[in-house]
Symmetry: C2
Subunit: 184 residues, 2 copies
């Protein structure tokens, strides 16, 4: 399964504790977050917002980085990882007009996006979903879902702060941070 839908509404295993606009317009407050396959997403039921995206091949990672990532990372769904954070992001037209080498240079050589994320493994698990190339245009380019244990909440905040201070984030023109607690 590669296509996932995140729904902010009255249902779902994750209780939403805060919705914060980091850059640009926020998303409406909702009580709970549901994560399903895109196929299973309830389209008729009431919700505040619904966003879909698809996991895909890595766009910037090189082989030595990939080997290290695969060795260190852990999957979603660990019993102790009771905190979740959903961060949809949109990048600027300037970002998308860069060529591959230019985007890689900003992403890693200047911003150390991969290296920063690596330092927080395996504690902070993460799944990236792409939504810029769906047939139906949506409001975001990427949806990232993070899971971690309460012991690592401060580290998670540091991870976000490091990334947001990087040159790459000059190309982010919309970002919302939705913190959740698993309460099935």
């Amino acid at each position: 399964m590669r296509a996932f839908t995140f729904t902010g509404g009255d249902a779902g295993a994750w209780r939403i504790v805060s919705t914060t606009a980091i850059v640009g317009e926020t998303l409406q407050n909702a009580a709970r977050l549901s994560i399903t396959s895109a196929q299973d997403a309830a389209q008729g039921s009431s919700f505040q917002w619904q966003l879909s995206g698809i996991t895909s091949n890595d766009r910037y990672v090189m082989r030595p980085e990939k080997i290290e990532l695969v060795a260190k990372q852990q999957g979603l769904g660990r019993p102790e990882a009771s905190l979740g954070c959903f961060i949809p992001i949109r990048k600027t037209p300037e970002w998308w007009a860069l060529t591959q080498d230019e985007r890689r240079a900003v992403f890693e050589e200047q911003s150390r996006h991969i290296a920063i994320g690596m330092r927080y493994l395996p504690e902070i698990a993460r799944r990236l979903h792409h939504c810029r190339d769906l047939l139906e245009p949506g409001p975001f380019d990427f949806l990232t879902w993070f899971e971690y244990a309460p012991d690592h909440e401060i580290a998670f905040g540091q991870l976000l702060a490091e990334l947001r201070a990087s040159p790459e984030w000059r190309f982010v023109d919309r970002e919302v941070e939705i913190r959740t607690i698993r309460e099935p």
Copy 2:
């Protein structure tokens, strides 16, 4: 507009003259090819096949290549470009498991994909559509549409032969070639 639908059926400005499976399963024969925005694609009408994809940012092109491409290429819809060719392609799971640097190395350093295409500009105009990352899984990863004048039909065949002889094409496991003539 970024999302396009190609429909093989009874309607459309392009008469299909041949449908050839290059690798893997073919597509059903159809009389005409219609190219519309994905939104305008007739979903109820009868057709033999329908494929959608979206134009996106370049995945491999570097800045010097981009400058040369933009300087040389011409758009679709030139009056003299009365021949069209639609080529849907799927790449293997091995391709998608490669890292970015490995894919770039096969694509350009080994296969000269960009350099080969450049030699046929501006005669052969081309638009690439991505469909691997749509929410609904489809049978192909890429849809490429080419337009050229009858004077350049032999050159177009050479372009295809050069690409198909390249190491990149070892990663192609389905390819169909649909030749058309504009007959509105």
